[in-house]
Symmetry: C2
């Protein structure tokens, strides 16, 4: 039961509140193929639990001008805004299992359940923190720094340790990365080439990237220090 898995995400680990059953009534399971758009109710916000797979949350400024707000992987909770200055859609990157909760209705149901509210707040805090970091990255960093920052973030999310190196199998295209970092597909490609020339990464095929010099990448990203636990939380809403 994928819904059961999603509901268990709301528990704090101590005990399920009395509103869990009510949440279950709201939940809707969904299965998407690769590259599909999640069919969410228009005009209403949705809280989406990624049971398996990977997706991107996209803000649409215009045709050919999209901003990837966040990449999301199995276990993530994504809040998809239903209204605002721009439209948001959730795209699957690979085959996905999702559980969708109408957000406003969910909030009413859990209004008296401090454990679930606290859980949601924790994740909203984390998402806000990452979104702010992203704004800084896009607003005040060079293409080279953004690229390094992206790889460091992805390593924390889906990196597989290989000795002192990290292997990434990126489910997103160069275009997706560009739309996430506010750069073009060509600039992304050039940055990959530069990182390869500098022996900081090695690539294989379109998607596999081996991080050869993690400290070097972090330095290039211009981070203060190692990212804190909140940025690699298992139960993380809205990963960037």
């Amino acid at each position: 039961m994928t819904q059961a898995a999603s509901l268990s995400q709301f528990r704090t680990g101590v005990a399920g509140g009395p509103s869990l059953a009510a949440c279950a009534a709201l939940a809707q399971s969904l299965r998407l193929g690769a590259g599909e758009i999640a069919p969410l109710p228009r005009g209403k916000s949705a809280l989406v639990h990624i049971v398996s797979g990977a997706a991107k949350l996209v803000a649409q400024a215009a045709a050919e001008r999209e901003q990837v707000t966040a990449f999301n992987f199995a276990g993530d909770l994504v809040l998809v805004p239903g209204s605002g200055p721009h439209a948001y859609v959730l795209h699957s990157l690979v085959e996905c299992e999702l559980t969708v909760f109408p957000y406003e209705a969910l909030r009413e149901v859990v209004a008296d359940d401090p454990a679930i509210l606290a859980r949601l707040l924790d994740n909203c805090d984390a998402a806000l923190g990452r979104c702010r970091e992203k704004a800084l990255m896009i607003g005040r960093k060079t293409a080279s720094e953004r690229m390094a920052g992206f790889l460091v973030m992805m390593a924390a999310r889906i990196g597989v340790p290989h000795g002192d190196m990290t292997l990434l199998d990126l489910p997103m295209s160069r275009r997706d990365i560009g739309d996430s970092l506010g750069l073009t597909i060509e600039t992304i490609s050039r940055q990959f080439s530069l990182l390869r020339d500098d022996h900081m990464i090695a690539t294989e095929g379109r998607s596999k990237v081996m991080l050869l010099d993690f400290a070097g990448l972090r330095a290039r990203a211009g981070h203060l220090a190692e990212a804190p636990a909140a940025f690699s939380s298992e139960f993380a809403l809205d990963q960037c």
Copy 2:
């Protein structure tokens, strides 16, 4: 009593929960002159209530490379992150009265108070929505669109209606605006001049801006439609 004013912000309007007294014990009042940095505990997150005045939340990438994450005005709640890939500071723009709550401690105190948690979550949702809009703005819009978007946002925040026009008295410098939009001070100045040439604004002194054509500005910003209520909420955390 400014602390009393801050605490009242946590109530939902129905009734104060039992944890309000505990919140009061954590609160610390602060008064800043113009252009000061709020002395917040290092390494810990703080929730700051702007009782009066105006402030900016700044993320520091490096010297001369700062990103203004949000501008905040009287009534706002700002969550200042204590740790992360970059350092954050809260700068006053004018004389300010603040109430500071250590965020982690506050969260423990209100852990069983669903009303306050819901309030905090509402505001975190709103802040996340605005931060996402900002990321889109910085990542995928031209200088002209960003400038227009900034003025539209400020109008919703501190605009004073004058007939069918809106008067702004901006408390921030051109540098602050540039640091907020990911542009330089010179580009901001040139955009002001262009908007003046196009008869969309009129300026007086450094800080006063009259918006002559609000619909035109919103069109230039590339927004879908009118900004929803959530973006001009009275009780708004972390206004961008």
